[in-house]
């Protein structure tokens, strides 16, 4: 007997949700700290944290993050 149409739809939706959740888990696991600068014309440069300039960018960002504090509760 063929599955009921709403079952097919539910299976498909939950399949997409599982895929999305897995993508987010992978992204969280693999995304490392980064510092990216953009210039006019769309040019971008990455700076690693172990370079002098990259280190300074992370220090400056850290101060701003500390200043902003935690997200205010709704």
């Amino acid at each position: 007997m063929p599955p009921k149409p709403h079952r097919v739809l539910l299976d498909r939706v939950s399949g997409y949700a599982d895929e999305a959740a897995a993508y987010m888990r992978r992204r969280r696991a693999f995304r490392r700290p980064f510092a990216r600068l953009y210039y006019g014309g769309g040019r971008a440069e990455d700076h690693a944290g172990d370079t002098e300039l990259g280190g300074e960018l992370f220090v400056a960002a850290g101060r701003l993050i500390e200043l902003a504090g935690k997200r205010p509760k709704p």
């Binding site: 953009y38 960018l57 701003l64 993050i65 504090g69």
Partner: protein, 135 residues
């Protein structure tokens, strides 16, 4: 500090409204500031003096990285993310939770600065729609 090519003026009141609107639109936002062409804080979610110092330090490092003035800075750390943008003679900096959508955050900041520079309150089309609804 923001780009020297164009100098925009925006009032502190408009910037405050814009910041409130930004906080409303961005659930990941922890804090933000809007600065004028000289690097002075027009509006900030906390201690304006510290925002002024820390944003100046960030753009200073960014500008030393290349031969031209940096337009956008995006730094992601374990503790959160920092987005900084110069546009239309103004600057905006936002600190968000990790994994905030970068393109969306920069788009919101850019729209906000564009509207402020044009004499608005950062709400742009939203305000136009409200006014159209009211009339």
């Amino acid at each position: 500090m923001p780009d020297g090519a164009t100098r925009a003026t925006a009032s502190g009141d408009s910037a405050e409204l814009a910041l409130g609107f930004l906080a409303e639109m961005s659930p990941d936002l922890r804090g933000a500031a809007i600065l004028d062409g000289d690097g002075g804080v027009l509006a900030a979610t906390a201690d304006p003096e510290r925002w002024e110092e820390d944003v100046a330090a960030l753009f200073d490092v960014g500008d030393r990285a290349g031969e031209e003035q940096v337009e956008q800075i995006h730094i992601g750390t374990e503790q959160g993310e920092v987005f900084a943008l110069r546009h239309a003679g103004l600057a905006a900096v936002a600190v968000t939770e990790r994994f905030a959508l970068a393109s969306l955050t920069f788009f919101d900041l850019r729209m906000l600065l564009r509207d402020l520079a044009a004499g608005g309150d950062g709400r742009g089309r939203e305000r136009d729609r409200d006014e159209a609804d009211a009339s």
